[in-house]
């Protein structure tokens, strides 16, 4: 696009080593990222561009009596001010599954920070000053903030007259979706229990806190369309939601993925996409929007806070008899991914354990709290925190080692899930626990030095709160299960375009997908797959855009599986065409062309016996081979709405953690000393990246355990800590060593036997830390994050 600086570029990576799958090849975008040249969405720049600014509601629930934009419009340097009335078509809402989210507030705001008006101006400060002159008359309405207030008889309805496909089966219009899972007879089975433990748990609202703020550049095009450079997790899902609001056919909304500064689920929903396009189309000028950190807390959905009630029963020898549970997820004002979160929470509510008799119910609420949706491990994360706390509680009641109890009930290949689905790939739950327990423990009292206490190794760190006083060590374990890929009958597919040609006398593969590289290393893996399948050294990864078919979302631990699978599949098709060309050209020179299994290796066509038949360069000559194919994993089914039965999932991911913590029991401060993880990854396509994913996911779980929470005032539903000053995420001094033990038990149904890996470590990390703190303090600790107040009874 002319005039745009720093557009996303091709990533070309050569290698003199095999560097196919299984190798720890380095990121093809690494050099650009370490030199500061990588084009993130907030780095986009265009001469003559305007700055967009979003005016957001200052209250959580109100009727908008009037909006007066005249003063703002009159300000010098302002090019446009838009409100609901300026939306160009009849489509004024968007949403991932339910189109319930207004592009701009329509006479009512339902949560704190909801977009109400847009300004485009020649400088961000001009836009902010103009926005400050927009007069909005709010008539405040009462807020609903929890299950009791949301489902009360006279509760104000968040979305009166709902017509979505869940509306018919929910018990109250302020419930987005409800999913029971009933199997066996939990009440009967409870009679066999020697021990029953119950618990009520609270999981706090977590923020993805990706570092790259929501941002993008929309450039109006001569054909009346728009080019949008943006950071997202799924270009085609965005496109499906954007185009109708703009009144443009999808082909006139050309999207290119710009550098994405982390995502973790927070970019599944739209943020500035439609707003930027609206302003660009209105003004006829390129418009850049960049949220600051304050706005970012309002600009994306968060991880659902949850209340969970659990009852577990077991026989004396520690076999689970039954499980009853109820999970209430707070979806906030708009649906976002809530239905899928309910599906995960309910179907995985028992964890990686065998329980035949279950009575499970999960619901998501509509409230006036901030909207919640996708975040790493959604639904499964909240459940894991609760069922692992229960397993510890049960172990204590049975006077049994907590790891032993878990191992006695661990699921394995062949286990029937509460949904009636058979686990048809390895499920090494007991083995992961064994491995993580077998790792050597970190030495005690590491703060002791010959010159006194090194406070950096103590709870409180540099704040110098203890020199060892009150410090007690605790060790805790947890294990979890996460589904991989989109479940419940979703047509989960990806598309890959792969080309092979000769450039400068060398065979080169080009891979083009719409996969959102958000940091996970998909681009690295795609190049590795192309090398393995096509025997090339040079691979070019083209920027992701909507000029190629959908790749699905970079979510649900699915991209290496699904888009990796698509790249593999397209490479195989390219290989077949190359071999066909070879047969036509050279088949008569060697009988093996017709009879042997042929491969592409080291730039040559070789037989499976290793005999070289031809150079790929000679086979291709001036020609190129290109295919674009869709690829999908095995289909899944929806869960029955009454019983929850159904083959809803395609694959599972398992991780176990051991946490070692030291707690200053007097001040209630926690230092996590070590957080060891064992995870089955099926096949590590890139071991370096795999370990990086596990360590990163583990750290996000640690954050929830001890510091991270979006605090919402229950009286006003306003967010109290929308900044990095008060929403704390772990620093390098809060993060312990994270030894990782990677197990590779192939899933025969998946490409290369791989397993999605990104989310599982985020599940078990949090309960392992909680378990360790409980071990150190003897306290019950039923909330995340654990605050000093909880540990000191203050």
């Amino acid at each position: 696009m002319a005039g745009v600086t720093r557009t996303p570029t091709n990533l070309t990576q050569g290698s003199k080593t095999p560097a196919g799958i299984g190798a720890s090849t380095l990121r093809p975008d690494g050099t650009l990222k370490v030199t500061g040249e990588f084009a993130y969405s907030s780095d986009m720049w265009h001469e003559d561009m305007l700055w967009g600014f979003t005016l957001r509601s200052t209250v959580a629930h109100a009727e908008i009596r009037s909006i007066d934009t005249s003063e703002a419009l009159a300000q010098a340097g302002v090019y446009a001010v838009l409100t609901y009335d300026d939306l160009p078509t009849a489509v004024k809402n968007y949403g991932l599954e339910i189109q319930d989210t207004p592009v701009l507030a329509n006479g009512r705001v339902r949560h704190h920070g909801e977009p109400v008006a847009l300004v485009a101006a020649d400088h961000p400060e001009t836009a902010r000053r103009a926005a400050a002159k927009i007069k909005i008359d709010y008539a405040e309405l009462p807020v609903v903030t929890d299950e009791a207030s949301a489902t009360a008889e006279d509760a104000p309805l968040l979305h009166p007259g709902r017509k979505d496909h869940h509306a018919g089966h929910v018990p109250h219009p302020n419930i987005v979706h409800r999913q029971p899972i009933i199997r066996g007879n939990a009440d009967e089975a409870a009679k066999r229990a020697d021990v029953i433990v119950t618990g009520e748990y609270d999981f706090g609202m977590q923020d993805q806190a990706f570092l790259g703020p929501e941002s993008g550049l929309a450039v109006p095009a001569e054909d009346g369309g728009v080019d949008l450079y943006v950071a997202t997790q799924w270009l085609h899902s965005d496109l499906r939601q954007i185009a109708p609001v703009l009144g443009l056919p999808p082909e006139k909304v050309r999207m290119t993925l710009s550098g994405v500064g982390g995502a973790f689920g927070g970019r599944e929903d739209l943020s500035m996409q439609i707003h930027g396009c609206l302003l660009a189309l209105r003004t006829g000028k390129p418009v850049k929007i960049v949220y600051n950190r304050f706005e970012s807390f309002f600009g994306h959905v968060h991880r659902h806070s949850a209340k969970l009630w659990y009852e577990h029963g077991a026989t004396k020898d520690g076999k689970l008899t039954h499980l009853k549970c109820r999970i209430v997820l707070d979806g906030g004002a708009y649906a976002s991914a809530s239905p899928a979160v309910v599906g995960n929470a309910s179907s995985l509510a028992v964890g990686p354990y065998v329980v035949d008799d279950v009575d499970i119910e999960a619901i998501a609420l509509y409230t006036n709290n901030p909207p919640c949706g996708a975040m790493r491990g959604f639904g499964a994360v909240q459940a894991c925190f609760a069922y692992e706390a229960q397993m510890d509680k049960l172990a204590k009641a049975l006077d049994m080692d907590p790891v032993e109890l878990r191992q006695r009930n661990a699921m394995e290949q062949g286990t029937l899930l509460p949904t009636g689905q058979v686990v048809d790939s390895p499920a090494p739950v007991a083995e992961l626990l064994r491995r993580v327990k077998a790792m050597p423990l970190p030495p005690e009292n590491q703060w002791e030095t010959t010159e006194g206490a090194d406070v950096r190794a103590l709870p409180g760190g540099l704040s110098n709160t203890t020199h060892g006083e009150g410090v007690v060590r605790g060790i805790g374990y947890a294990v979890g299960i996460k589904n991989v890929g989109f479940s419940e009958g979703f047509d989960d597919y990806s598309t890959a375009r792969v080309r092979m040609e000769v450039i400068n006398g060398e065979p080169v593969a080009t891979v083009h997908t719409a996969m959102a590289e958000v940091g996970q290393g998909g681009v690295t893996v795609h190049a590795q797959i192309a090398r393995t399948e096509l025997g090339v050294q040079q691979v070019t990864i083209q920027p992701a855009d909507t000029q190629v078919g959908s790749a699905g979302s970079t979510s649900a631990s699915r991209q290496t599986y699904v888009t990796g699978g698509a790249v593999k599949n397209s490479c195989e098709a390219v290989r077949e065409q190359v071999l066909q060309k070879g047969r036509l050209k050279f088949g008569t020179y060697h009988p093996a062309w017709a009879t042997a299994e042929l491969l592409l290796e080291g730039g040559k066509v070789v037989t499976d016996g290793g005999e070289v038949l031809a150079d790929i360069v000679d086979v291709l000559g001036e020609e190129s081979v290109e295919v674009e194919l869709e690829w999908r994993h095995r289909p899944t089914e929806a869960f029955d709405l009454e019983t929850g039965q159904g083959n809803g999932h395609v694959q599972y991911s398992f991780a176990a953690h051991r946490a070692v913590v030291e707690v200053d029991t007097e001040l209630g401060l926690v230092k996590v000393i070590e957080l060891a993880c064992a995870q089955d990854v099926g096949k590590a396509l890139n071991p370096l990246s795999v370990v990086g994913q596990i360590q990163g996911g583990t750290t996000q779980g640690l954050g929830v355990a001890v510091m991270e929470e979006i605090v919402v005032d229950p009286k006003t539903a306003k967010v109290r800590n929308p900044s990095f000053t008060d929403y704390l995420i772990p620093t390098i001094l809060d993060t312990p060593t994270i030894p990782v033990d990677v197990l590779e038990l192939a899933d025969e149904h998946a490409p290369y036997g791989l397993r999605g890996i990104g989310e599982a470590p985020t599940l078990s990390s949090t309960p392992a830390v909680l378990s360790a703190i409980r071990a150190a303090t003897g306290l019950a600790l039923t909330k995340t994050p654990v605050r000093p107040e909880h540990l000191t009874g203050t």
Binding site: P459, G461, S463, T794
Partner: protein, 300 residues
């Protein structure tokens, strides 16, 4: 908004006299966040970075004159012997990047109860040197400096030039509770300094009252107990009952609020724990190190 760039202290005073609403900016820690997040739009910003002597300190026979903009990093690295409490507090300020630019003048100017330097300044004792073009220099005792939430004893036309702090004659400690191991705003903080030459103890509490405060009752109680027991001379250990009472009185000096960073109850509790521990450290140090001014923890 106008940007003023005085090249000297005199120019800065003149500019402040002419534009009393001008907001001085040095390390930028508070001011720039307010501007970036649209919380504040001052008419004038006045850059103090050009005034070199604000970044200098002089060590005299009994006192240190610390320029308002001496970065915390410099205090940590160069003034550990003279100002051990402030050096410890400096080390808990935000991050290395912030400590490289921020100085005590910013903490004093903002006068937030959460400023990390305050408890150490109160425990040390000293004076704040402020100046205006109209009335010249005024020395404000630190005990009289903090007037209310983010309100200090300065007049609109005054600027902070330096703080004058006594060189430590006894051990000093500083402790701060945050819910993260680095880069965290204090939930509450506590500073303590032994002053053997006057046989007194001074303290400072941060983030647990509308202003930074001293725990005067606790100080008086402890000084009396030490005096009575002849501890200053003998160096005998402080009885646990005395430490406990001192801690309780320190807690009692708090007047905290519940906020998103912590509960009032926790703040009171934590101040008590910190008071007891830091007393233990300074007294151990006083007894052990030939009664010198060494602080406690290594690397702290």
């Amino acid at each position: 908004m106008d940007f003023l760039r005085p090249a000297s202290w005199e120019e800065a005073l003149a500019a402040k006299a002419e534009h009393p609403t001008a907001v001085p900016i040095a390390g930028g820690t508070d001011v720039m966040v307010e501007i970036n997040f649209d919380h504040r739009r001052p008419e004038y910003l006045m850059d103090l970075n050009r005034i070199g002597d604000l970044r200098e300190w002089e060590t005299g026979a009994d006192t240190v004159r610390l320029g308002a903009s001496v970065p915390y990093t410099q205090i940590m690295e160069n003034l550990r012997a003279e100002l051990p409490g402030l050096a410890l507090a400096s080390h808990t300020v935000a991050s290395p990047q912030i400590r490289n630019r921020g100085g005590v003048g910013g903490n004093l100017g903002t006068a937030s109860p959460a400023g990390d330097a305050h408890p150490a300044l109160l425990a040390s004792g000293g004076e704040v040197e402020v100046e205006s073009a109209a009335r010249g220099v005024r020395m404000i005792p630190i005990d009289e400096f903090y007037l209310g939430v983010k309100r200090n004893a300065m007049e609109q036309d005054e600027l902070i030039r330096a703080v004058h702090l006594p060189k430590a004659t006894g051990p000093q400690q500083f402790s701060k509770v945050g819910t993260r191991n680095a880069m965290v705003i204090a939930v509450c903080a506590f500073g303590i300094a032994l002053h053997p030459e006057t046989k007194t103890v001074r303290t400072g509490i941060g983030s647990a009252a509308p202003t930074p405060v001293r725990a005067k009752e606790a100080e008086a109680f402890l000084a009396a107990a030490l005096e009575e027991g002849g501890h200053w001379e003998s160096g005998a250990p402080v009885a646990p009952s005395v430490a406990k009472q001192f801690a309780q009185l320190a807690s009692g000096a708090c007047n905290p609020i519940d906020d998103v960073r912590g509960s009032a109850k926790y703040r009171r509790h934590a101040v008590g724990i910190m008071a007891r521990r830091t007393l233990g450290w300074v007294w151990e140090s006083y007894r052990g190190d030939g009664r010198t001014a060494q602080g406690g923890a290594q690397c702290a």
